[in-house]
């Protein structure tokens, strides 16, 4: 099938393109990108479906490099199918899913299972992230080479830090030799203790145990030094503190191969929001102070932080409709991530082009996966965005199986209106003009 996206504003940072052009898709790949491509004629053989993209942004498919799909093990929270549907509705053509399933994705069989389920769903591309250590216990490394061969794209014990610095060194060195990234959840558990939210004035007033920002900074610093010393690279997951942003900025300046991601809640909310004790706001790392939020925004603006990932973490009412202390940490973000990120463009913090790079090209490069570009011959993964579309977050309409979203009722501007994976339209907003 041929698909012609006509007259949209094509933004493709990989080719330095930002102008009104047409995009022709043939055989699941990009076949042509140019101004005023004549519509292929003839209904039988060469005919193409022509879609008018006027007023829309046509971008390389967005990639969320940090999600939790809960399958296998916690299918009542999310499945690979429901997570994929949520991803498509949020404008993501590909998502990476973390290893903290039950059983943990620490072996070929689990990785293969995930890929098989993804193939059955045949929706978004699913990239499994395998565990660094067996059962996420921080004891001994998983079989990196075998997992890579099975289809894992990265290694991470996300949800838990690799507390043992020696093990982390081994992981970085071994992964590097296999050209695989390590995604690090940075947290000093001894400092974090039984903390439930950011330590500061708000935690003091609320009487909730605090997690100091330095519990993140210290581990970010350790991982940077490990990468520097061993000449390897490391990716810092969900950056939330001003200190971590500064450490990464300095490390990049001195040539350390460090990349980083943050999540929309860290540049949107602060710990002040927890005054309601809403458990949907319980998340690790915790929502920080206003200085941290501003530093994360600045880190995105100046390129210190490479990527925005949702850290989509579905939980049911059994985990969330409880006391704050007992609530499981995490919030869902696949369907709100783009809308919240576009607010940074609206505020003038990022340009649309920067944001597209942050949400497509950069994660593709960090994970070393195809996509993130509309170059001729690339996979035809495309996200069409309506920047002017205002909509209200309504969790009742979510494709995700879970409802732990603190943004319910928020009015957002900008939305994915079409998501194309491998040349096939997998999601289409109920927009009469499309």
């Amino acid at each position: 099938m041929k698909l012609m996206l006509k007259g949209g504003r094509i933004i493709d940072p990989s080719q330095d393109i930002d102008e009104t052009m047409d995009l022709l898709i043939e055989g699941g790949v990009v076949s042509k990108i140019a101004k005023n491509i004549p519509a292929p004629r003839g209904k039988a053989g060469g005919g193409a479906v022509v879609l008018d993209m006027e007023g829309k942004i046509v971008a390389p498919g967005l990639i969320d490099m940090h999600t939790h799909l809960r399958e296998p093990g916690h299918e009542y929270k999310e499945t690979i199918l429901s997570g994929s549907l949520a991803a498509l509705a949020g404008g993501f053509t590909a998502i990476a899913c973390m290893a903290n399933t039950k059983p943990v994705n620490d072996s070929r069989s689990v990785t293969e299972f995930i890929l098989r389920q993804a193939a059955c769903a045949n929706l978004a591309r699913i990239y499994p992230v395998a565990a660094v250590s067996i059962n996420l216990e921080g004891g001994c490394l998983t079989e990196f080479a075998d997992l890579k061969d099975a289809g894992a794209v990265a290694f991470s014990d996300d949800g838990k830090p690799v507390a043992d610095s020696g093990l982390m060194r081994q992981a970085l060195e071994y992964a590097c030799s296999l050209s695989m990234p390590v995604l690090s959840h940075c947290e000093d558990r001894d400092l974090a203790g039984e903390g439930m939210m950011n330590e500061g004035f708000v935690s003091t007033e609320l009487g909730l145990t605090g997690i100091p920002s330095i519990s993140e900074d210290i581990m970010v610093s350790r991982d940077i030094e490990l990468a520097c010393y061993t000449g390897t690279s490391v990716h810092i997951a969900h950056v939330s503190t001003a200190g971590a942003v500064e450490l990464i900025r300095n490390a990049k300046a001195r040539g350390v191969k460090v990349t980083a991601e943050t999540a929309p809640h860290y540049f949107t909310l602060t710990d002040e929001a927890i005054r309601t004790y809403s458990t949907d706001l319980k998340v690790y790392p915790p929502l920080r102070g206003i200085e941290d939020r501003n530093a994360v925004r600045e880190g995105l603006r100046d390129g210190t932080i490479d990527s925005i990932a949702s850290d989509h973490a579905p939980h049911s009412s059994i985990e969330k409709d409880v006391e704050f202390a007992y609530a499981a940490p995490g919030l869902i973000g696949l369907e709100t991530s783009l809308g919240l990120s576009l607010a940074l463009v609206d505020k003038g913090i990022l340009t649309a082009r920067q944001l597209i790079a942050i949400m497509s090209m950069n994660p593709a490069r960090i994970l070393n996966v195809p996509g993130g570009s509309l170059r001729k011959g690339e996979l035809a993964d495309v996200t069409v965005i309506d920047m002017e579309r205002t909509w209200t977050v309504d969790m009742k309409t979510f494709r995700s199986q879970s409802r732990n979203c603190p943004f319910h009722g928020w009015a957002l501007k900008g939305k994915a209106v079409m998501t194309i994976v491998g040349g096939a339209i997998k999601y289409r907003d109920n927009d009469p003009h499309l």
Partner: protein
Amino acid sequence: MILERKDVLGLSDFSAAEIDLVLDTAETFREISTRTIKKVPTLRGITVINLFYEASTRTRTSFEIAAKRLSADAVNISSSTSSVVKGETLSDTAKTLEAMSPDIIVIRHPCAGAPHILARLLSQSIINAGDGSHEHPTQALLDMLTIRHKKGAIQGLKVAIVGDVKHSRVARSNIHGLTTMGASVTVCGPAMLMPRAVERMGVVVETNMKDALRDADVIIMLRMQLERQRSHVFPSSREYARLFCLTRLMLENAKPDAIVMHPGPINRGIEISPDVADGPQSVILEQVTNGVAIRMALLYLLAGGRQ
């Protein structure tokens, strides 16, 4: 004369006028407890559920007596475990309670914010009887009633709060209430038991008890919340007492007419030496008496509020 709120969850959002209203109302209720027949029919037909997720004989008894002196029906539900352990959500708990048609629910919970979540789920009035390390508004109100009784007014007094401030809900509620009423508050305790940025609550922070007590009109000693601390935060009780026990000698640093308060139960010899606890400056038992009056006042002011 009206308390414009459904719930009493904490003193952080109480105005001075509201605190005055509660204290004035409690003042008239003190008299009832001195009668031969200590009961008035005011809250006949009102059901009060005392929902206690944490053991507390004192506070529960105080609320129960308060309800009964006003002729309300008080029902005690004690649960050592959260509903979460039983596989129930807080909404399930709320719906179950609602089905029993209470009018006021008094809740004590080891988790900060639990009363706030229940208050959102329920149409009934919620009174927070202590939530984790967060707030204990009725304790602070009874403390303020005691202070007002002994000192005439709260405005302008110097109050020292000494002990494990970090884990103390009594400290937090008193800081909110006393600063709202115009007292100047100094908090004092071991450095590692001082919560971060507490000075932003409008208090002076001291780690030396002598400095904290200088010119104090009121001394509120906190209970060592051993159950709310992670292990090994302080070397030993002996070491604690060496620095922070209110002895007769230490008390000499305060004003000669300073009053000594403690929310109870006292760890004698750790927080307060026995001679001070039983001495002429101690008003600890009056606090208990005032506790009943304060709780009667709140039940009275909240009852029937939303018809």
